[in-house]
């Protein structure tokens, strides 16, 4: 029996997925709308104007909620005046898929999600100790077990989970899938991790760097190109192909100037510290966690390129689409990557990634590559949405600055 209610899930420019619950008949009849300002207004959420965007469900994404059979969720695209809205990041990713398909290329992607499970009463992680890959953290495992099992029941391909390097930090791995499907699954997974954590009385925190002294959370996106069932990144017996290297080169070229696309908040830039396992320089190597881009050699089925720069709260459609477009651009231009890093990328003299929000904003704004390969209205709207954050990043005085530099104790 079809669910009576449908949660129409849509994602705003900066990556927040929101839900409009409507009766099935209303959804099927069409005409559900959301104010345009809610999509484009950024963190302030200031209502502006009367323009409305239509939510068009992509019914291929419909899936029931296992814990509430009366409700199904369905991802929607945003339409404006009957056409795909330039502010719809899912539509942007769909266009990337189409662009690859025009070259007879299929993009597969797999996403690693990281987040903290936090006790709402204390605001602290549910356990303190670093205990990476531990199987015995039963403080979090009932919740994480529910996440794995319920998401799989929703046909979201969770294939593994483990405690990550921070106390109370969790990683879940979602199986590789066609690019748009992968982004949908990861987006829904992030939405419902929060829901399932809440049901367990916990908060799931996707803020990239909630605490100074604890490990940060990122998004790692594993990508490969396929044609006629063959992985084009694989060169036997165990290497990255020329097309893979060109893709990697294009992606690598974009990392410094596209950083803001993967890190929409100033908080995301606190990840960038030498030795943090978040990248600080534009770098690549095979199986090296100090680099921004990591080639993973996994045989014919598993050879792929991992982009390690995105923050855990990014807009997945925008981030993944930009990464893939940059990679495709590298193929089109037949780029060659620089030599792979040997050793510790943090200790090498390589092009720096932006360390501050302001720098990242300016780099994207002034980037020729972005202007050439990314949709101008989309990037323009994204920059406009985040402009207030630039000012806040500059003007805000942090607690630690008061504590460290003031001779007088200040509130």
């Amino acid at each position: 029996m079809e669910a009576r209610w449908v949660d129409i899930a849509w994602t705003d420019l900066i990556g927040r997925t929101q839900v409009l619950r409507a009766g099935r008949e209303a959804c099927e009849a069409g005409g559900l709308t959301v104010p345009r300002s809610r999509v484009v207004s950024g963190y302030d959420g200031t209502p502006d104007g009367t323009a409305m965007l239509e939510l068009r469900p992509d019914w291929s994404t419909e899936r029931a909620l296992p814990w509430d059979p009366a409700v199904a969720v369905c991802v929607a695209d945003l339409y404006e005046d009957g056409a795909p809205s330039p502010c719809c990041t899912r539509g942007f990713l769909r266009s990337v898929v189409e662009r690859a398909a025009a070259r007879d290329l299929a993009v597969e992607a797999a996403v690693e999600l990281e987040f903290y499970l936090v006790d709402p009463a204390s605001g602290e992680p549910v356990y303190e100790e670093i205990d990476n890959y531990s199987l015995s953290r039963l403080e979090t495992e009932p919740t994480v077990t529910a996440v794995r099992n319920e998401l799989r029941a929703m046909a979201i391909g969770v294939e593994a989970s483990n405690p990550e390097y921070g106390g109370g930090q969790v990683e879940i791995n979602i199986s590789h899938a066609p690019l748009l499907v992968a982004a949908d699954q990861a987006t829904l997974a992030r939405l419902y991790v929060s829901e399932l954590a809440g049901r367990a009385g916990l908060d799931a925190v996707f803020l990239p760097k909630p605490w100074t002294e604890r490990s940060s959370s990122g998004i790692h996106v594993h990508q490969s190109l396929w044609r006629d069932g063959a992985n084009l990144f694989f060169r036997p017996p165990e290497d990255l192909s020329d097309i893979g290297l060109a893709y990697l080169a294009g992606m690598l070229e974009s990392v410094p100037s596209f950083a803001l696309l993967g890190s929409p908040t100033p908080n995301g830039f606190h990840r960038r510290a030498d030795g943090s396992f978040a990248p600080t320089v534009a770098s690549w190597a095979t199986d090296n966690r100090t680099t921004a881009v990591r080639a993973v050699l996994g045989g014919e089925g598993g050879t792929r390129i991992e982009h390690r720069d995105g923050a855990s709260d990014c807009n997945l459609y925008l981030t993944m689409g930009a990464q893939v477009l940059a990679g495709l651009d590298g193929i089109e231009r037949e780029l060659q990557p620089p030599p792979p890093v040997v050793g510790n990328a943090y200790a090498q003299d390589l092009p720096q990634l932006p360390r501050t929000y302001v720098e990242a904003y300016e780099r994207l704004r002034d980037c020729e590559l972005a202007a050439r390969i990314l949709p101008g209205p989309l990037v323009g709207a994204y920059l406009e949405a985040l402009e207030p954050e630039v000012e806040l990043a500059i003007l805000s005085a942090a607690d630690w600055e008061r504590a460290r530099y003031s001779r007088v104790e200040l509130a």
Partner: protein, 396 residues
């Protein structure tokens, strides 16, 4: 859930997945402290390719007790870039997690990308040591008793009644619950020795050393997991205030194929490897091993006790060290210096300098174990302890 004890098969897991009694498989290994680590996979994912190798950051093979990483370990550091290591499941280790509904486990062997067995994890070195002994016609069995204490907070031992149930505990109590769960998991628990002062010993049956290592590690994990939440906590710290005797990983070793074993040579060999048997600064307070060698009921075997492994020790590391020490002690060609090892730094130096240890344990293992002992010793040397604060605060 219908549980069959002992080793399970893939067919068992397929049935359990189909009837919904298992939803998750722990694909797993034990670290250098015997902590059970791995990833949880949905059972369908595991069954789609049971032999699939699972990747982990290789830095986890050389972390300290707090999961901190150090540049002094040649195996993994920022210069190596922390690549992946790969766990190949050992399908003959498959079993249910008997104390937690819905989960199964499989242990594995850590390998390089190319499939070579890593020489750093003790669990990988143990079979090589045993094989070397077998070449000499020597075969070992071990009866392991996992010692610890049930505590209700620091300084507050749980008072245990008959069968190990703590005063105020609801239900069967942690120890019995763990033992029953372990039996369902295929771990050969023989008995629970629960002392009124909170100390306990979980006695496992006589087993070959690899199985003993795996089962003791799983037993520790069960006790730790069941300690989460209300009720007493299982603590494996060797020395605790209020307890005169140390908590041990007590190994009774049965040696076959050896006419005699010199306890003095064995004691010297164990001293060389003392940092592997007593991996913390506190464990050293238990004193060195004082092995006793006796005959057994089986005329062809020798029994060895007093092998000196601390409760904190990783079972695989301890059994590997014990087996290697026996091998060295049995070989009259091996020179075993007799030199006391008083602390972790001395233990590191002793291990690093020992030619026979490098030969028996492998240079990879020694080259990474010794620096970590030194790091631990340095951390302790730099620490200001509560004892010092209490004693010297008002001095002068």
């Amino acid at each position: 859930m219908s549980v069959e004890m002992g080793k399970q098969s893939l067919e068992w897991l397929e049935r359990a997945a189909a009837d919904g009694s298992v939803h998750t498989v722990r694909v797993s290994w034990s670290d250098r402290f015997g902590t059970w680590r791995g990833k949880r996979l949905p059972v369908a994912t595991f069954l789609a390719n049971p032999g699939r190798r699972i990747s982990f950051c290789d830095g986890m093979a050389v972390t300290d007790v707090n999961c901190d990483i150090y540049e002094s370990t040649p195996f993994s550091n920022f210069e190596t870039g922390y690549p992946d290591m790969y766990l190949e499941p050992r399908l003959d280790s498959l079993g249910p997690v008997g104390w937690l509904d819905g989960e199964a486990y499989v242990l594995g062997t850590l390998q390089t990308h190319g499939g070579e067995v890593l020489g750093v994890p003790a669990r990988n070195v143990l079979p090589a040591v045993l094989a070397r002994l077998a070449e000499r016609g020597v075969e070992l069995g071990a009866r392991v008793t996992l010692g610890g204490r049930l505590m209700c907070g620091r300084g507050a031992p749980a008072l245990l009644g008959p069968g190990g149930r703590a005063r105020g505990e609801v239900g069967a109590g942690l120890l019995r619950t763990a033992a029953e769960g372990l039996l369902r998991s295929g771990v050969a628990v023989r008995s629970i020795d629960a002392r009124p002062d909170g100390g306990f010993g979980l006695d496992l049956a006589v087993l070959d050393l690899e199985v003993a290592a795996d089962q003791a590690m799983i037993a520790k994990a069960a006790l730790k997991e069941l300690s989460v939440g209300a009720g007493p906590t299982a603590v494996f710290m060797t020395m605790l205030p209020g307890f005169a005797a140390p908590a041990l990983l007590d190994v009774e070793l049965s040696v076959g194929g050896a006419a005699a074993l010199d306890p003095a040579r064995l004691a010297a060999a164990l001293t060389t490897l003392r940092g592997l048997l007593q991996p913390s600064v506190t464990a050293f307070k238990a004193g060195p091993a004082q092995p006793s060698v006796t005959g057994s009921d089986d005329a062809d075997r020798i029994l060895v006790r007093g092998l000196g492994a601390a409760a904190e020790a990783d079972p695989a590391t301890a059994l590997m060290a014990i087996a290697a020490a026996v091998g060295a002690a049995l070989d009259p060609e091996v020179e075993i210096p007799v030199a006391p090892v008083g602390d972790l730094r001395a233990a590191a130096d002793s291990l690093a300098a020992s030619a026979w240890a490098a030969e028996w344990l492998g240079t990879d293992f020694v080259a990474n174990a010794a620096p970590l002992m030194r790091e631990e010793a340095d951390l302790f040397a730099a620490a200001i302890t509560d004892w010092e604060l209490d004693r010297y605060w008002a001095i002068g």
